[in-house]
């Protein structure tokens, strides 16, 4: 266990003097909880989405299996297990088999770094004591924290891409080329808005980011200005291939996109990964911008204080729920974007805005760090605004020139 001791601050658990059954029990419990949350959460999410969409479309939705149709997903999943597993003749068998796992495993691993609870009130750093061991309510708290999530979301691109390619058929290939172009494009905006949060928090570790948001005015939603939050939300929806950005699946044009040729349990893995990503990315959004398990004081009281140590978890669940509902709402109301609209939004709107905002925040941070105040601070702010206005005008001029050139060449769009 030598190497574990040398990893600094990965988890206070690993720095304990004696290493006996308690740390192992705590780690085993955490792994189990994260695994179960992933699966049960996904099951619930599928039901939740079907039920809410049904409500919005004036239907009943699943209502036969179990109370309120809650067991419908379980029934569907069991059915998928027993379906015949087809591999198309033209498929590349090896890549075809590993692609679902490349989509599924990253979706699970994101849960490892999200703080699922813990006591962050009154300046506590979120550690709890279980079996006499000090630990955090998250599977791992590596020093690179959020970068792990980015790494996982970039690995998830492989799942989609290879699934489409290895199917050996044209609709999946078109779907996967679209999907990977979309995911790579929006990853830039996602990363830039994330960088704004990391700069304000001054740390990469997720528990550090949560501790930095000790009151509602410190929530990164407000302390970074609303802009990174909005950009992150849109880019995240595109990363997840959720409506209105579900061009990847586009039933009417692509017969379902990259997973057209998949059946049985392999299809179920893609399905599971997609819904699990919705939940885990919502949890990440809450962690980054809305304080994660931090309570919201309504009139000076924490309404979940009665739950004691589970108060943080209750807050996290409540906040995540709000976003899950929002995603279902998006799906029920917004029409799908056209492909050129998608690319325009990503490259010409979201990336410039998030980059400009990031530079603005960096300038203000430097000003604050070097203790300028009063008139000089307002001069800096004015300078930043002038710079942004200039950059915006240059950008618009460049777009106009590009449009004119396209028209001159007789492009169709």
């Amino acid at each position: 266990m030598n190497i574990l001791h040398r990893i600094p601050a990965a988890d206070p658990l690993l720095e304990a003097e004696s290493f006996w059954w308690q740390p192992l029990a705590v780690i085993g419990l955490k792994v189990l909880v994260v695994f179960v949350i992933g699966l049960v959460g996904t099951m619930f999410m599928v039901w939740f989405e079907r039920k809410i969409v049904a409500g919005m479309q004036n239907r009943v939705g699943p209502n036969k299996a179990g109370p309120f149709g809650l067991l419908q997903t379980l029934a569907d999943g069991t059915k998928l297990f027993f379906k015949e597993d087809l591999i198309p003749e033209k498929a590349d068998p090896f890549v075809f088999r590993i692609a679902p796992f490349l989509a599924f495993v990253p979706a699970f691993l994101v849960w490892a770094v999200i703080p699922l609870g813990g006591d962050f009130t009154n300046g506590h750093d979120g550690t709890v004591t279980w079996f006499g061991e000090v630990t955090r309510v998250q599977l791992a708290d590596p020093p690179i924290g959020v970068l792990l999530v980015l790494a996982m979301s970039s690995i998830a691109v492989y799942g989609v891409m290879l699934a489409g390619w290895s199917s050996g058929s044209k609709y999946p290939l078109l779907g996967s080329v679209r999907a990977s172009a979309q995911m790579i494009s929006y990853e830039a905006a996602l990363g830039l808005s994330l960088a704004a949060v990391l700069m304000t928090a001054g740390t990469l570790s997720t528990s550090g980011i949560v501790s930095a948001q000790s009151s509602i005015t410190n929530w990164h939603l407000l302390s970074t200005g609303i802009v990174p939050f909005v950009v992150f939300l849109i880019a995240m929806t595109a990363e997840l291939n959720r409506p209105p950005f579900d061009l990847v699946e586009a039933e009417q044009e692509l017969v379902g996109g990259f997973h057209t040729e998949y059946s049985s349990i392999r299809f179920a893995l893609f399905f599971l990964a997609e819904f699990m990503n919705v939940i885990s990315m919502s949890a990440l959004l809450v962690t980054l911008f809305l304080g994660g398990p931090q309570p919201l004081y309504l009139g000076g009281t924490d309404i979940f204080a009665v739950l004691g140590p589970f108060g943080g978890t209750a807050w996290l669940l409540l906040k995540v729920f709000a976003f899950l509902y929002m995603y279902v709402w998006f799906r029920a109301t917004l029409p799908r974007l056209r492909y050129d609209q998608l690319m325009n939004l990503g490259w010409k709107v979201l990336i410039p805005i998030s980059l400009g905002w990031f530079i603005l925040l960096a300038a203000l941070q430097v000003a604050r760090d070097s203790d300028v105040s009063g008139l000089r601070y307002s001069l800096i702010v004015a300078g930043c605004l002038v710079g942004i206005a200039l950059a915006y005008m240059l950008f618009q001029a460049a777009l106009n020139v590009a449009r004119r050139n396209r028209d001159a060449e007789g492009a169709a769009y």
């Binding site: 266990m1 030598n2 190497i3 574990l4 040398r6 990893i7 600094p8 601050a9 590349d92 090896f94 890549v95 590596p142 020093p143 690179i144 970068l147 792990l148 980015l150 790494a151 970039s154 690995i155 691109v157 492989y158 891409m161 290879l162 390619w165 290895s166 290939l173 996967s176 080329v177 990977s180 172009a181 790579i184 990853e187 740390t203 990469l204 570790s205 060449e409 007789g410």
Partner: protein
Amino acid sequence: MELLVFVLASAMVLAGAIGVIACNNPVHAALGLVLTLFGIAVHFVSMEAHFLAAVQVIVYAGAIVVLFLFVIMLLGVDRAEDLSVEPFQIQRPLAVIVGVAISGLVIAAVVRGRSTLGEQLESGVPGDDNIRELARSLFSDNVFAFELTSVLLIVAVVGTVVLTRRQRGGASK
């Protein structure tokens, strides 16, 4: 424990590298490259360079190889190529010479660096601080080289766009 991690990661790196060379199918070769990059990331983690490990996965595995795959898919060269045709007669002997030269350089660097590397490792800062150290060195000591690299990349991108667009314009006229 450390030895076990080293052996496993090295096995990943070597298996991936052999896969890149031995696979006939370009997509399989690209996947071999991903395996190699992951092995190197594991090596970085075991040497406490967490940030480098994350960047390795995000940039190399997540962006560059994805781009490779993208090009392979778009160009449709995902079938085994005929290796008997050789456009440049000299390129195989040249590849052998360059390969031997590069491996010689790497071995020489390791042999020479063994004495000095130990001292630098002792003075190194562990863990979360290595992001701070990296940033300080990039944006203060080596800022000139850093900025020049970014200019180089921009020039490359603009050059590519200009070259491809000119061709298309000429064709339409």
